[in-house]
């Protein structure tokens, strides 16, 4: 048992090295934020990047999964959902590397993890949250969440003054209080259209990813599975401020590529880098400044 967990899995016909490398890079790009766990996770990530036997040893990924799980328990219930997905993913890698047919096991694990995560996201948005389906969530979020502010200025056609007034309007008053002169609320048709596109576009794309990952597909539908996942990453993480989720999804998609699908492999690595650029380059802010001039 222990020797199997410590023995590096062979690369021939096994899990592609790029999947393991990108997962280690995710750990380095977004450390776990709990000071007494960070050194261990960073050390494991560094060692796995530099030393092939560490990278391909099942125990490495099971240890990382355990550390991530400890992090989730330590800050319960404040962890974001991609931290949970990271724990499941590292566990999936560790289990795959420790058994027969590691590549096939990880491909299946990736498919089911993506299908379940996206299915649950669709359940919350489409069924359990009435303020999503009637458009309230994005109408409010595009105005109140600072991380979406520049995109609202650029695509919603708002001015900074209108944005400030809208934020005032969306500030709640103490219970029972009422303003004599309520601040005006300005919602240009472009902003309403942007909110509607984010609401319905996001839901449809997530539902597509969920369905195509949950059902066994071949041929064109298999291509559609990858296309929907790549499209989700390219569009969502251009605006959504959760690069960690995007990197994880791109890496899980990469794990589903076959050895001969070089272009697809390259597309997932490209999307991983694109999400990195999205997160580090404030492109909507630059566009907002340009459009104001």
């Amino acid at each position: 048992m222990w020797t199997r967990l410590l023995r590096p899995a062979s690369e021939a016909g096994g899990v592609p090295d790029s999947v393991l490398t990108l997962t280690a890079i995710i750990l380095l790009l977004r450390p776990l934020e709990v000071w007494w766990l960070v050194p261990f996770v960073l050390a494991l990530a560094c060692l796995s990047l530099v030393l092939r036997p560490v990278r391909r040893a099942p125990i490495t990924w099971m240890l990382v999964a355990g550390l991530v799980a400890i992090r989730i328990a330590a800050v319960w219930p404040l962890s974001d959902n991609h931290i949970y997905l990271l724990a499941y993913w590292c566990l999936a890698i560790g289990l795959s590397l420790s058994g027969p047919a590691p590549a096939a096991t990880l491909t299946t694990g990736s498919r089911w993890l993506l299908g379940a995560a996206f299915g649950l996201a669709v359940l919350w948005k489409g069924v359990l949250s009435p303020d999503y389906m009637d458009g309230r969530f994005f109408r409010v979020t595009l105005l109140t969440d600072e991380r979406f502010a520049d995109a609202s200025l650029v695509f919603g056609g708002l001015s900074r003054e209108q944005m400030a007034l809208n934020r005032q309007f969306l500030e709640p008053l103490p219970e029972g209080a009422e303003l004599l002169d309520s601040p005006p609320f300005v919602e240009p048709p472009r902003l309403r259209a942007f909110a509607a596109a984010a609401t319905w576009g996001g839901l449809v794309l997530e539902a597509l990813v969920a369905v195509l990952n949950l059902i066994p597909v071949e041929g064109r539908l298999l291509a559609a599975r990858h296309a929907s996942l790549l499209a989700f990453c390219v569009t969502t993480y251009a605006l959504a401020p959760v690069a960690g989720f995007g990197w994880l999804i791109a890496t899980m998609g990469l794990a589903q590529c076959r050895v001969n699908q070089r272009a697809l492999h390259g597309a997932y690595v490209g999307v991983f880098v694109l999400i990195l650029l999205y997160s580090e380059f404030p492109w909507t802010g630059v566009l907002a400044d340009l459009t104001e001039r």
Binding site: N81, Y84, L106, T108, A117, R136, L173
Partner: protein, 142 residues
Amino acid sequence: MTLRAALPVGLLLAVAAAQLTLARTAGLSPWKGGGFGMFSTTDDTGRRRVRVFVSAPERSEETAIPPSLEDLARRAAVLPTDAALSRLARGVVERERRYRRPVDTVRIETWRIDYAPGTLAASTRRTRDFVYRVDTAAAPRQ
């Protein structure tokens, strides 16, 4: 599907089922808890808050949350269970005693912001009112 491939997704589904239950029964924010409800509702961490009131003979006042208790307050706002609110209340009691201020009761209210359909008019709503008596066990009150 082999057991090795099924175990991670089985864990995911078990955690998600627990999250859904807590969201429906204990007021857990859909954004948290591993159920993948992020970006689905305005009921997120930033739109939840707690208010803390301290009382003793000749004293009854609302107290600001100090930085040392912010983490406990955030956890209580996201999942306002009796246990989380009691932990925050105990933190408040310890702090008051450190500053030699009398405290008999700590009352904690949890609030969230709602937006009206259509107009988006914002209003606040109290979701819990919890009383912690210093010398006795915590006494929850709705």
